[in-house]
Every structure is written in structure tokens, then in C-alpha cells.
Assembly symmetry: C2
Homo-oligomer: 321 residues x 2
């Protein structure tokens, strides 16, 4: 058993947090991770209320363990935070923007404030906003993120935020990554892509199979999927997805794509709806190399934690008096 | 003491390799790292013979411990490998290109072949070429590199190359990074930027001071310094440097820079010669956050290894029966 500030904060069996992947981390995946001993997260994405109501009801119905929800800070619309807090999550993850305006409402609800940051400046801002936990997210992670890499970012964030516990995200999909994160001084890990390839994740089976089949050399950060969908992400954030023909066609030609929106947007949404991933994106991190099967999320939590325990024990083997 | 396949291969006290930084890792720095218990490296860069003769003589005169030299594979000119092998290094690091044409000469000289790779495909190529050791180098490292990040790349390379020992590079500057690398399954680390900020490194004091003062959010991968200098790097490789006005002026305007070479190139070399780093580059990785002083390279090797030992011992604290 691995005991850290993260496991103690929420009474978890394993220091593993589900990445709140928008549209992928629904209530059933969140409940499965929580039931498996980690901290499940509903991925609130851009804050679509009907989707949130459905998924928040599902997580509540399927676990009595602690769970949370994640929101994209810059996109939080009126009433969305209130809707999420009304479901009584144990934690809210805010990522991609200044958490300060939302901190007091979250803490007043008795909910832990987790801030996911992409650089040291963001970590300092999160500490000042009163974050209970900071997730340092590296650029190798899937979906939206910044440009700093996890291995040097985590210790730099730890050095910058004093006593606030830090969790590592980006580039972690197995027990080796969890053990490495602990050596960096992190209190656990947040994993997205690894949990995408589970039966409980929302999304088409073809998307999950593409993650299993891909290698990590086949992902890239891009803006094309945000442009075609009409999401106006602030500077500094891009999304990491598996290479596909749509990305290859438009990457580097973002201005041309913006002009073709009347044709490209409806075609994109049609492709996304039917699971055509030659056009639609599969958000995925560089850890695709380390993902070989679609497997149940609950068992995965225990297996990864056990692998990390075994890895931590090799410390004794390499150390000599 | 940390004992791994790396320390056993060369009889080292510490599992730490000096990054063969061109023009920075001269004979005195290489000797200091070797004398400190690590594996020093002369940075052969683009293979300038007069420079190599001077620095190879210096390393031989200043240490009787094992040491090596690094070359940029795609740039190896006639007679350069022979010149280096004649100095009887214990290891040669080949990076950035196919090592196969050079492998047999290196091994025939009784020298270990170390291949530094930036992706899984490169690791498989290195294994087939007969590499004795593979360095998996992440994009967060300073100077030239690829696009994959260290944390997910190292375990993916380990899984791909079977019994060949792997060393982690990129994003490591202290004992936390070394301990994390060992948890990933690596046999040690190769560090560049951390050793740039030492008195023994070649280069202007102002460059070293800029690394000490910078934070990791202030580095970027770019081609502008290669274009202005006229080095025709193959696709896929860029150099990570500290932000400066020259980079800000030309990044994204590489084609315009190429047209201004008659003016910009002599101005650049003049700036580089006098240590004007508003124009010349300081190659540096994202670990600049973790570097607070210019300090002696030999003591640094021991201090980082001792910090890693202490960090590895926290495994016992987080594990509960």
C-alpha cells in the first residue's frame, strides 16, 4: 500500500486520480475508478448542463467512495459551478485559467479545490488562490495542455508552492510512472489516456482501439480540432491527439481552415458522431506506447498501484552501503 | 551508493553521464565529471578537428578514470571518428542519425557504443546497430533534440530494446530526477544543462549566469540558431535555448531569416564571440528552474547522487504493509 498526502486527503487506497477528460470521463468511469480505490472524476468539459446532470447522477448512483469533477476554467458558464457543487463532489479540478474567482464558492461548499497547472507561474497563482492540491500537468499528456514536460515541471512546481501537495500528470500510464512521480516528490498521479482505453469510458470503441494500437511517436499537439469545433482556447494551450488525415491536412494551415468552417464544421461533427477517426480526433498522450489493452478501470487502479509498489522496492536493490 | 548496469559497465561511483555538449563539454569538464565518479564526455559537436585535438588531450591529461566523447552522427566528417578513437575513449556517444555505419569501427576499437535516441524507432535502430547502451533523450533537454518527453519515452524505449541498458536524458538536474529515472527502469542519467552551469564548462560566464537566473518556462525549441549559423539539421531535430531577443525576432519567420543571412550571420558570430546573449543562444533545458548556482562539476556529481540515494530511501516511508 502506498500512503501519501493525496491518499490521506481523500481516504484513498491508491494515489491515483482519474483525469477529468471532457466527454470521456462520465459517471460510470468516475465511479469505477473511485470503487477501485482511486479518485474518480467526471469530466465537465465546456460545461454542457444536460450532460453534466446525467453523468453526475450516474457517479452518485454508482459509488459511495469520494469522487470529483473537472471544469475548464476559462469556459465556465453561468450556473455550471453551482450545478456541479449541488451534486456534492469531494473535489473540483479547475484547469486552464485563473481559479481565483471560483475558489471561495468551492471551499465554502466543503469541497477540495484541485488546480491543474501547466507551468510554474500557474502553480504560484493556484497556491495564492488557496488550492488544496496542485496537479502539475506535462505537455506529453493527451488532450489540452501547455508546453512544459512533466519530469522537470513537477519538482519545479513543488519547489514553488511550499506545503501544498502536488500530483503529477502527463506521460504516466503504469506503475513505473507512478513510482517515478513519487521520487520527484509528488503525492500521486493523475492519468487520462490510460483510462480512456477502458470499457467504462464514454466514446467509441474505435477510439479506444486506436489508443491501444498507436505508439507514442504518433501524437502531436495541435489547434486544428479546436478551430474546426469553434472552441476559442486562450494562447498557450493546444490539444494532443493521435495523428490522423484531418490533422495532417490542416496542421500549419490553421488560417485556411478557419475560412472553410462552413463546410468543415458540419462534416467534422458528422464524422465525430459516427466514430470516423480519420477526421475526428482521439485525444491521447505519448503514453500510448504503454497501453496494450482495453481493460476495466477499477482493476487497472489496483494493478498500476501494485506495479508501483514493486518498482519502489527496487530502490533497495540498487542501493549499496 | 547506487549500483546499476551503467556503473558496472564503466566502473563508476555514480550513475551519471555528462551530456557531450558541443563547445561546452571540453576536456576539463569531462575530466572533472569522471574524477567526481561519473562518466565525463567531450562534446565533439560538428567535428572540428583542431578543437577536438586540444580537448581530447586535456581530458587525457586530467583524469585516469573512464571518459568518452560524443559526435553528431549526421555531421561526422572524414577522419573525425578516427581522430577521436585514436585518443582511446572508453565510450563514444552517437546522436542524431543512423549509427550503423560507425558501429563496427567503434566496437573494434574496444570502445563502448552509446546511442542517444529521441524516439522509439531510433531506439530500435540503435539496438540493431549493436548499441551497448541507449540514452533516451526527452524534448525538455537543452540543445538539440526531438519531440518526445522523457517520462513516457524512457519506459517505452526500455520495453522496445530488450536487454540493452537504457539511460534517461532531458529534464534531469538533481537527485529527484535521478531517482525518478531509476524508477522508470533506467540505469542512470545523462545531464547537460546542469553541467553547463559549472566553472569547468567552456563558454562565457554570462551564459552560465543566464541559466542560473532563468526559469524553465523561459526556454523554447527553435531552428533560428541553426539557420543563422548555417547548420543544416535533418527534419525532426530542433534546439532548445533560453528565450532572447534574437529568437523572439525570428521564430516563425525562418524563411525571412534565411534571406538575411549575409547580414545576420556575421553579426551573430560577432555576438557569440563576445558573449552577447541578447543575440547568441544559450542552449538550456527546462531544468533551469532547478539550477541555482554555478558550482564545481566534480562535487555536483557526488551531491546529486547522494540526493538520489536519500530520495530512493523515501520509498520505505510511503510503503505500508
Amino acid at each position: 500500500m502506498i500512503v501519501t498526502a493525496l491518499t490521506e486527503m481523500f481516504g484513498l487506497k491508491h494515489p491515483i486520480v482519474l483525469g477529468p477528460m471532457g466527454g470521456v470521463a462520465g459517471g460510470l468511469l468516475a465511479a469505477a475508478v473511485s470503487n477501485g480505490g482511486g479518485l474518480g472524476m467526471v469530466g465537465g468539459g465546456y460545461g454542457e448542463k444536460a450532460w453534466l446532470e446525467t453523468e453526475l447522477a450516474l457517479v452518485k448512483a454508482n459509488t459511495d467512495r469520494p469522487w470529483g469533477a473537472g471544469l475548464i476554467t476559462w469556459s465556465i458558464g453561468e450556473g455550471v459551478l453551482e450545478l456541479v457543487l449541488a451534486a456534492k463532489p469531494h473535489a473540483i479540478v479547475l484547469s486552464f485559467g485563473d481559479p481565483t474567482p471560483y475558489a471561495s464558492a468551492i471551499k465554502a461548499a466543503g469541497c477540495k479545490l484541485i488546480c491543474q497547472v501547466q507551468d510554474v507561474a500557474g502553480a504560484v497563482q493556484a497556491r495564492k488562490a488557496g488550492a488544496d492540491l496542485i496537479v502539475a500537468q506535462g505537455t506529453e499528456g493527451g488532450g489540452h495542455g501547455g508546453s512544459r514536460a512533466t519530469l522537470p515541471l513537477v519538482p519545479a512546481v513543488i519547489d514553488a508552492v511550499g506545503s501544498v501537495p502536488v500530483v503529477a500528470a502527463g506521460g504516466i500510464a503504469d506503475g513505473r510512472g507512478l513510482a517515478a512521480a513519487i521520487m520527484l516528490g509528488a503525492q500521486g498521479v493523475l492519468m487520462g489516456t490510460r483510462f480512456y482505453a477502458t470499457p467504462e469510458a464514454l466514446g467509441h470503441d474505435q477510439a479506444k482501439q486506436r489508443i491501444v494500437n498507436a505508439c507514442g511517436d504518433q501524437t502531436q499537439r495541435t489547434r486544428v480540432f479546436d478551430i474546426v469545433r469553434g472552441y476559442d482556447w486562450p494562447n498557450g494551450y493546444t490539444g494532443r491527439a493521435l495523428h490522423n488525415p484531418f490533422m495532417r491536412r490542416w496542421d500549419g494551415k490553421e488560417k485556411e481552415l478557419a475560412k472553410e468552417i462552413p463546410v468543415e464544421r458540419p462534416a467534422f461533427w458528422e464524422a465525430a458522431g459516427k466514430g470516423d477517426y480519420e477526421t475526428a480526433m482521439v485525444w491521447a498522450g505519448e503514453v500510448s506506447d504503454l497501453i496494450h489493452t482495453v481493460e476495466g478501470a477499477g482493476a487497472l487502479v489496483g494493478r498500476i498501484s501494485a506495479q508501483a509498489e514493486a518498482q519502489l522496492r527496487i530502490a533497495d536493490k540498487v542501493l549499496r552501503p
